[in-house]
Symmetry: D2
Subunit: 348 residues, 4 copies
C-alpha cells in the first residue's frame, strides 16, 4: 500500500499516518518528494479496504500494491483449479458445454431439450425454475415442480443439472436436486447468499454482474472460497455499455484477463452477452479461441414459443452446428469438448 | 406496440403475427410500407415483455408504445404521492433530510450522531446494521444490537429511523424496529425481497442500481406497489460510468426525468453518488435545485475513524452548513425543509 | 511516480528500472516489500506518459503521484482565472449566460433570437455556422454568411458571439468575426486544432468529449494553455452512459471536481446534457447551485421549425423564466448574473 | 417512421403532424389506440434526422423503422464488398493482417519491423507519423520524414502502407505516399476530414470512436461512401466502459453485428482494444473466430524502447506465433491469411 500526502501536509499529519500504519501491524517506509511525501506500508497486508487510510488528515490518495483477493488469486495458486462435475471435469484440458432453456416450462419441454442438447454434444443441462423477471407481471417459474423435471432429465441423459438460485430461502429445496448452483448477474453481490453457498460443497457457477468489474467478480468469488467451497466457476455474460444493437457487450477481454489473474475455471454465456440467436455461435467460437474453459448456452426446441429469452435461444439444430464449430476450435487450442461418461439410460 | 416486419417477409409470416396479436386479445392494424409492413397492436395492453412477438418468424423488431410500468406512472396518477413518515411528510412541499452514519458502530457513536444531525436540521436518521461489503474480510455490521441503538436514538431525538435490509431473512427482526426500509443499489432487482417488502406497510426507500436504467428502477418500484405498499420513495445514488475522479456519476438528470414519469417522491444520495465529502454539499444543493424531494446523507462524528465510508462522510459541522444552504435553495423552490414535530425527549 | 515490481522480479530487472529512472533525471528511492519492491521516483517530473516505465522488464505497474496537467492546475495557480469577454467577465463572481440557436438559419432568425435572449438576461450569443452532423444528408450550416448575421446581431445587441470551429481551415475566416471559439465535444482531442487555437488570443470554450474523462479534458486545455492562450473556459455537456431517457448524462459531479482541480472557469450546457427542453431549466439551476460559472443554452424562437436540436431548444419565454430562477440561485451563492455593459444600439 | 402522439393529444395536433408528414413527401397511415394515436409515415424516406417530427406539438416520440445509413447497408447491397489493396484483396475469403509500430521512430526501426512482420506473414505495414497524443508534452511524430521511411519499407518488402491522417492539412503530402488512410478513433466524427477522404480513391480504414455506437460508425462510413469512395474498411478497436483492467473493452459483438448490417469489410485492432501485449493474441484469435476480415496489430522490435504504446506492442517473435494461430483459425473458418504477391525486393 502506498499513501501519498497532500502537497501542503504538515509534519503532524505525516506522524499521524505513520502511527496508523504501525497500528495496523505494517512497517512504514517514507520517501520525501519535491512537493509531497509518500509512505510505503510493508507487511503481511491483506486488509481489503483502503478506507481507514484515505480519511486520515493530510492524505491525498492511497494506492493498492497487492491484489485485494487472495484465495482465488493465481499468485497464491499458480496451477489451474480442476474439479469434476458429475462425469466430466472443468478447468483443465476439457471444454464444458452447458445448454438448455432459459426456463423450465413443462416436463416435455425440458426432456425434449435435454435429449437434443445431449445428442448435439452438451455435457450439462441448464434450466431456470425461479425466474428473476424485471416485471412483476411476467412468468416467475415452475419452482420445485421444475426441479423434479430437471432431475428426471438428468436421470435419462446422464447430464448434471445447473440451476439458478435467487435467494437463501431456496437453498434447502435446491440442495436435494441440483448439481451446480448458478448465481445470476443480479446476485453477484448478494453477500448473504454467497456466504450460504460457500458453506455447501456443490459447484457454484458465479456470473459477473451487469456492471461489475473483473476485480469485483473475484472479490465475490472470495466469499465462496472463504467458506471452504473450492468448486467455483466464473462466468462472463456481458456488461452494460452505451451500445444498444446487442443486449449487452460481451467483454471478451475478460477471458484472458481472468485466466491470468485467477486459477478458477472461466466460461462465457454468449446468449446473454449478445441477446440475439444470430450472434451466439460467433461469440461462442470467439470465447473458446480466447481461452475460455466452457460455454453456457440457451437452447429451446421452439424459441418462438419460449416464455422467456426466446430471442436469444438457439434451436437444437443451430446448437448442434455450433458444437461442431466449437470442437474444431478446441482442437486448435489443444483441447477437446468433454465427453459425457454416463450413458443415456432412458429414451423419450 | 408496433411490430415491424423484415423487408422480405412472407404473407404467411404476416398472417402468423396477426394471429399472435389477436391471441393476446389485441387488435392489429396493418400498414404496408415501401419495403416492409408494420402492425400496430391496439388494446388494453400491459404485457411487459415484447419477447413473444420478437421471436415470431419474419419479425424485424418490436417497439413499445406505452410505458411498461403502471402503478408508479404519473399518467395513471397525475398528482404527487404524499405520505407521512412519523412526524413529517414526504412527496409534497416539504423536503426530507435523512442523515446518519454508514454503519452503526456503537451506542455512543449513533446517539452522538443522531443528536448532532437532529440539531442541524435532519428529520430522519439513517444507519446500517447489516453491511454489504465487497470483501468477506471487512466489518459486516452489528446486527440486532445496532437496531436497538437506533431505536434508542429515535426515542431520544424523535426522528424515524431508516435502515437497509439485505435479505428476506432479516425482515422479521427489522420489522420490530425500523420506520423505513432501505433497499440498497445491489438489491434493486432482488425481486424476492421486493415482493416481501411489498406486503409490509412500512415506507420503502428504493435505491437505483449501479447500472440500472430509470425504467428499470420504476419496474422494481412496481413490485412494491403491486403488493399494495404505496409508500415508496425512489433514490438516485449515482451510476457507474467510465469517469473515475468520483466514486459514481450522479445522474442529476434522473431527478426531473423521474418527477415527470412518476408520482412517487424522489430523493438523492450525494454521499454515494460522489464518494467524497468535498463534493457532497455542492451535489446536495444541485439535487434540491433540480427538484428533488429530499436527501440522504452520510454523517459521522469522526470520519477518520469510521469503519466504512469515512471518505464520503460529512462531519456534523459540515452537515449543519449544508442544511443551511439547502434551506435557502428550498425557499427559492417554494418549499421548506420539513420540521420535526416530536420533541427531543432525552439529552445525551 | 511509483513503480511496482512483479512478485518474482530479478535483481537485474530492478537494476534496469533504477537506471531508467536516473536516465530521466529522477532520483529513485527503493522500498523492499514482502513480495515485491517499489521504486519511488522523485524529481521535477512532468513527463505525462508512464509508458517508458510500464514496459520495462519486471515491472508490474506504474502509478502517477502528481497530476499530468500543469498550467491548468489549481496547485500551480490557486486563484481563479478571471478574464473579460467583451463587456463582462468570467471566472469570478459573475455568472455568464450564453444563449442562442443551435444553427444560424437566417438573418431574421438570429436577430430575433439575439434580441429575445438579450432581453431575458443573456450576456453572450451562440450560433453554429459550420455544423457537425452525424449524417451527410443533413443541413451543414450557412458558413460565412452565418458569421455576418451573427456580427450584425452583436452590433445590435452588444453581446459577444460564441461560434463553434470544426477545422483549422475555418480559422482565418472565423477570426474576423467571432469573440469566443467553441471547440465541440467531438473535437476535444483534435490536437492540431487545439494547437492552432492556442496560438490565438481569443477566448476558447472547450467542451468535454462525450466519453472524455475529466483528466483528459484538463489535458486538452493544456494544449491551449501551452500555446500561451490563457483564456480557456471549460464546459461540461453530458457524457455517454447506458441511460437512454436523456440524450446524455449530465455529469454534475464534474462541476465541483473541476473547480477543485483547476483555476479555469467552468460552465455547463444543459441543452446537450439532457437533450430535452423539459429538463433544461432544472439542470441549469442545478449547475449554478453546484458552483458553475455559467451556462450555455440553446434557444430558438420556434423550436418546432428548427433545422437542428429543436427538441432541446427553449422558447424565448421559457428561457426568460429560466434566467429568473438562475438569478435567484446565483444570489444564494453570493454571485450575480453578469450584466451587459453595452447598450442595445439597434432595434429590430 | 412511426410517430406516437401524447395520450392527451388534440385533433389539431394530429392534423399538424399529418400535414408535416405530407409536406415531407410521405404518406401517413393513422391508427387510433386506446390512449394514443400513431402515424406510420410511408414512402421513399431517407431523412436521417427525426428532429423535425419530434418537436411537433402533441408528439410523444418518433421511432425509426428503416436504417439511417444507405450506401453501407447490406439491405441495399447484399454481397460483400471486396477490393484490392496493392497485392491482396480484403472483404472476401482472404484475411488481412496489418502490422507495424505505433509510431515510425527512425529509418532502421521501421525497416527492421517491416521485414520482421513480412516474414511472420503480415500483408500490410502500419506506422504513425503524425501522432495524436493526449499530452502536448509528448512525442508528436516524424511527419514527412516518416512517410519516406515507410515508402522505403514498402519498396523493400512489397507491403502496402497504412498511415493515420489527423487533419485535412495533411492530405496532400500523404497522398504522395500512403496506400491506405487510417482515420483514428478520435476523428471518426471529424466530418470535414471524412468528406475530404471521400473524394480520394484510396482505401480508408475507419476506426470506431471510443464511445461511438455501431450505427454512428456506419453513419461516418456514409460520409466516405457518399463521396464516391467505395473502398472503406471498418475497424473495431475497443470502446470505453467502466472496466479498467484493460485499456478499452473489445466489443467482439461488433464483428457479427457489422457483418450482418453492412457489406463493408470489418477488421479488429487487438492492440488498442486490450492495451496489453499479454492479451493481444487471444483477442486476435477471437476476432477471426467471430468472423472478422482481418487484424491490425502493433509490433515493435523492442517494445521497452518504443516512444509510444510499448505496453501493447508485440515483439516480432510473439507476432509470428500469433500469425500461426490465426492461420489455423482461418482454416476452420474456410478462409486463409492473404499471401503477398510481390517479392521482397531488398534485404536489410
Amino acid at each position: 500500500m502506498i499513501i501519498v500526502m497532500k502537497p501542503n501536509y504538515t509534519p503532524q499529519q505525516l506522524e499521524g499516518v505513520i502511527s496508523s500504519v504501525k497500528a495496523h501491524g505494517l512497517t512504514p517506509h517514507i520517501t520525501y518528494g519535491v512537493e509531497t511525501a509518500i509512505i510505503a506500508a510493508v507487511g503481511e497486508f491483506h486488509v481489503t479496504s483502503l478506507d481507514p487510510f484515505e480519511v486520515l488528515e493530510g492524505v491525498e490518495s492511497v494506492k493498492r500494491i497487492s491484489q485485494p483477493f487472495k484465495l482465488g488469486s493465481r499468485q497464491a495458486h499458480p496451477e489451474n483449479s480442476i474439479f469434476p462435475i458429475d462425469g466430466f471435469t472443468i478447468g483443465g484440458n476439457d471444454i464444458a458445454i452447458i445448454a438448455g432453456p432459459c426456463s423450465v416450462e413443462s416436463r416435455s419441454q425440458i426432456l425434449e431439450t435435454a435429449h437434443a442438447v445431449r445428442e448435439a454434444g452438451a455435457n450439462a443441462l441448464r434450466g431456470g425454475v425461479f425466474k428473476p423477471r424485471t416485471s412483476p407481471y411476467s412468468f416467475q417459474g415452475l419452482g420445485e415442480e421444475g426441479l423434479e423435471y430437471l432431475a428426471e432429465a438428468r436421470e435419462q441423459t446422464g447430464m448434471p443439472i445447473v440451476v439458478e438460485i435467487m435467494s437463501q430461502t431456496q437453498l434447502d429445496v435446491m440442495l436435494k436436486y441440483v448439481d451446480v448452483f448458478q448465481v445470476g448477474a443480479r446476485n453477484m453481490q448478494n453477500f448473504n447468499l454467497l456466504r450460504a453457498l460457500g458453506e455447501t460443497r456443490k459447484t457454484i457457477l458465479l456470473k459477473r454482474g451487469l456492471s461489475a468489474t473483473i476485480e469485483e467478480l473475484l472479490m465475490s468469488a472470495e466469499y465462496l472460497l472463504a467458506g471452504g467451497n473450492k468448486q467455483v466457476v466464473l462466468c462472463e455474460r456481458g456488461i452494460r455499455t452505451f451500445e444498444t444493437t446487442t443486449r449487452n457487450t460481451t467483454d471478451i477481454n475478460a477471458i484472458p484477463v481472468l485466466k491470468k489473474l485467477t486459477h478458477l475455471p472461466v466460461i462465457l454465456d454468449p446468449s446473454h452477452s449478445t441477446g440475439h440467436a444470430d450472434y451466439v455461435a460467433a461469440i461462442a467460437r470467439a470465447a473458446i479461441a480466447a481461452g475460455a474453459d466452457g460455454l453456457i448456452v440457451e437452447v429451446h426446441p421452439e424459441p418462438s414459443k419460449a416464455v422467456s429469452d426466446g430471442k436469444q435461444s438457439l434451436k437444437p439444430e443451430a446448437f448442434a452446428e455450433m458444437v461442431k464449430q466449437i470442437k474444431a476450435i478446441a482442437k486448435i487450442m489443444d483441447r477437446r469438448v468433454a465427453p459425457i461418461k454416463k450413458p443415456v439410460t432412458a429414451g423419450w
